[in-house]
């Protein structure tokens, strides 16, 4: 009948491999071939440059509000590069780089943030879900996908993402618990950028690390330098291997920083200090990875420059395609809002579609007559 400490048997670790000065811990360094390394860098760069270009578009009224992703490339690419096409990728909304890596076209991304559902249609050939807006809700879908893999006996994993603030939602808890109870092959990756819009992590939770929340689910938790794409890769790969071997889910916390406002509508000066931002800019994920590639002889300065140009051209082409598409009849058709809700058309929606069709026709006629409202006369009827 004593009083005694209970031993915590869950493994909670910290991992960093490539530091901000591009020093590498060679004992921990993953063995990746040059093509893979180049591909990883390329998509980090594509993500970054797309994000920057999108900001310019937004500022000139060519794009809606969107959550910027600059700074989140290592968390996204380090993890997504550790899964197969046939695995599942279930993002939140800061995985721009990872979505591009998975095959989401630039025009889809742009269409999405310009208010077209067509941008939410996953590309063929991969198992991806689109952006998810109600925070943490996607984690349950990932848990369910993982449970389904077990039921079907498929050796795959589901890789999913959430923000530090999102871990306060009940859905986070339920998702990690379901995944753990059913030993579902799910990797939960936290984009810990230390803020939920304006709310710092210290006001969001009262424990030292997000990773330690894994203790509550009997799963391994690992906190990773989220600006270190190699560490993110290693942590994810281990988790993937364990999951595929039946070892269940893992919680990965990637510590990083949002180099931008929360969205294009936000003003971070209200809640973050310039010094803090400056400090974190110094830990930027692309610079150190580029250095690493150069040090390792994978890419030369010239290669890097060429890649910039390539990426730039790719983005330009994507924007152009999105602008053409958004002017296409299909994408401009408002009547399509009734077409995809149910697997079969309902009488009720058919009526509403007809109502809108007639109204649009009436408007068109009105416009032709140069009379904006063009209402039929009522007085006679009175």
């Amino acid at each position: 009948m004593p009083r005694k400490p209970i031993e915590i048997t869950e493994k909670i670790e910290y991992l960093s491999i490539l530091d901000e000065n591009a020093n590498v811990d060679t004992k921990l360094e993953p063995k990746l071939d040059n093509d893979t390394l180049k591909k990883m860098y390329r998509f980090m760069l594509l993500g970054r440059r797309t994000d920057e270009r999108m900001l310019k578009m937004q500022r000139t009224g060519r794009l809606g509000t969107f959550p910027q992703a600059s700074g989140h490339e290592a968390v996204s690419i380090g993890s997504v590069s550790a899964i197969e096409k046939s695995d599942w990728h279930i993002p939140a909304y800061r995985e721009l780089a990872g979505m591009l890596y998975r095959g989401w076209s630039l025009e889809k991304i742009i269409l999405y943030w310009n208010g077209y559902e067509e941008g939410a249609v996953p590309p063929k050939g991969v198992n991806d879900l689109p952006y998810c807006v109600p925070v943490a809700s996607q984690l349950l879908h990932a848990a369910g996908v993982g449970m389904a893999m077990n039921i079907k006996g498929d050796k795959k994993v589901a890789l999913t993402y959430f923000g530090d603030g999102s871990s306060s939602e009940g859905d986070f808890h339920e998702a990690l618990n379901f995944a753990s109870v059913f030993k579902a092959p799910v990797i939960f990756v936290c984009q810990n950028n230390q803020y939920a819009i304006s709310v710092p992590l210290s006001k969001q939770m009262n424990c030292k690390t997000l990773a330690q929340r894994a203790v509550a689910y009997g799963m391994p938790g690992i906190k990773v330098d989220g600006n270190d794409v190699l560490a993110m890769y290693v942590a994810t790969k281990e988790a993937v291997d364990r999951a595929k071997a039946g070892g269940g889910p893992t919680l990965i916390e990637g510590l990083t920083y949002r180099f931008t406002p929360h969205t294009t509508a936000d003003d971070p000066k209200r809640y973050r200090s310039e010094e803090e931002s400056k400090e974190w800019f110094g830990k930027e994920p692309l610079t150190r990875f580029a250095k690493y590639l150069q040090n390792k002889g994978v890419m030369t300065a010239k290669d890097l420059e060429e890649m910039e140009a390539e990426v730039d051209a790719e983005i330009r082409a994507g924007i152009e395609r999105s602008e053409t598409l958004s002017k296409s009849e299909e994408l401009m058709n408002p009547l399509a809002m009734f077409d995809h809700l149910y697997s079969t058309e309902t009488e009720h929606l058919k009526e509403q579609k007809e109502e809108l069709r007639q109204y649009l026709e009436h408007k068109k006629k009105g416009k032709k007559q140069q009379n904006h409202t063009a209402h039929p006369e009522v007085s006679s009827a009175k």
């Binding site: 249609v121 879900l129 809700s137 879908h141 848990a143 369910g144 996908v145 859905d171 339920e174 149910y342």
Partner: protein, 329 residues
């Protein structure tokens, strides 16, 4: 009927689950206590023994978790049939259903679908606790993208459940729990489906139309039988069955004939299903209406604790009175 078996509604739902599990290996059943406990109402009797723990899943106690993981499973290709222990607790799953089950198909222009069923016992009449007797189908029916159905007996329960499981959309399946073991009915041996989105004219009449569903359908039936025995009236009775999409065409056609309508349901009146029925009749059959449409429904209060639940619920007398007033108007 040739080739039928008599059974109560609990048994009929259980039968449909057995059949669906047998026919389609993608069907899984999940929820709190649906395994060895066989459900608190024993609706999942015999399932885990036959189909095993992989397909008959006792989940942790978390309704958002159940529906949220079911969405993931459905996206993966399964057809989860989820039990929420009492419809009252589905509140917790409202976000997953509204934000995702109702939207994935639309959001992805038809590419991703979420074929799942959220089964749940609902309504009063069994002297249950607070939060065990509400009938809030209107909450779900107001969500574009969900389908909502409610059977009124063994046969419609079994047929609608098959329809719901086979449907490619998310279906909220209300089970009026007071009917589980109230009466038996002939259920065909062959699997039968009822089209979701269609009401049934159960009995023709000419003086008045009554629309009801779920347990209230039985109440309406009782009322009408007594009324027609006692008095010289002829009442048409419609079993709504599908709450969303709603078959206003069938209702309006009937009202065009009778000119009068009474709607009966257990849920609160304010923004309840009857309100929408009235609005649609107003839109489609206004000129046929000879009297105001009466609502015999739950009141706009939480279901009182069970010592007084019978006063909250529609009963045959309330329905009969409303019918008479409407005919006399």
């Amino acid at each position: 009927m040739a080739g039928t078996k008599e059974m109560n509604m609990a048994k009929a739902i259980n039968l449909a689950l057995h059949e669906a599990l047998e026919r389609d290996e993608n069907v899984v059943v999940m929820g709190e206590d649906v395994g060895y406990d066989e459900g608190v109402f024993r609706i999942t009797e015999g399932l885990v023994q036959k189909y095993g723990e992989k397909r008959i899943i006792d989940t942790p106690l978390a309704e958002a978790g159940i529906m949220g993981t079911a969405i993931g499973m459905a996206i993966y290709g399964l057809r989860p049939v989820c039990e929420i222990q009492f419809s009252d607790f589905a509140n917790y799953a409202f976000n997953q259903m509204e934000s995702h089950a109702a939207r994935f198909r639309n959001r992805t222009r038809g590419q991703i679908k979420t074929p799942l069923v959220m089964r749940m016992p609902s309504g009063g009449g069994i002297r249950a606790l607070e939060h065990h007797s509400e009938s809030r189908e209107a909450t779900w029916a107001h969500v574009p993208g969900l389908k909502v159905v409610m059977p009124s007996g063994p046969r419609s329960a079994r047929a609608l459940l098959h329809s719901a499981i086979q449907d490619d959309d998310a279906v909220v399946f209300y089970e009026p729990k007071s009917l589980y073991r109230l009466f038996k009915e002939e259920v065909p041996d062959e699997i039968e489906t009822f089209p979701i989105g269609k009401a049934q004219v159960v009995k023709e009449g000419k003086d008045l139309t009554v629309v009801a569903f779920g347990a209230s359908f039985r109440v309406a039936l009782d009322a009408i039988e007594t009324l027609e025995e006692d008095q010289d009236v002829s009442i048409e009775l419609i079993d709504l069955l599908s709450i969303s999409p709603m078959d206003h065409a069938t209702i309006c056609k009937s009202v065009e004939k009778t000119g009068r309508l009474v709607v009966v349901h257990e849920g609160p009146r304010n923004l309840g299903i009857a309100a929408e029925i009235i609005a649609r009749v107003n839109e489609h059959a206004f000129l046929s209406l000879e009297a105001p449409i009466k609502r015999v429904t739950g009141y706009d209060v939480p279901m009182p604790y069970f010592s007084k639940e019978q006063f909250f619920l529609p009963d045959a007398d309330k329905v009969a009175l409303a019918c008479i007033e409407t005919i006399k108007f």
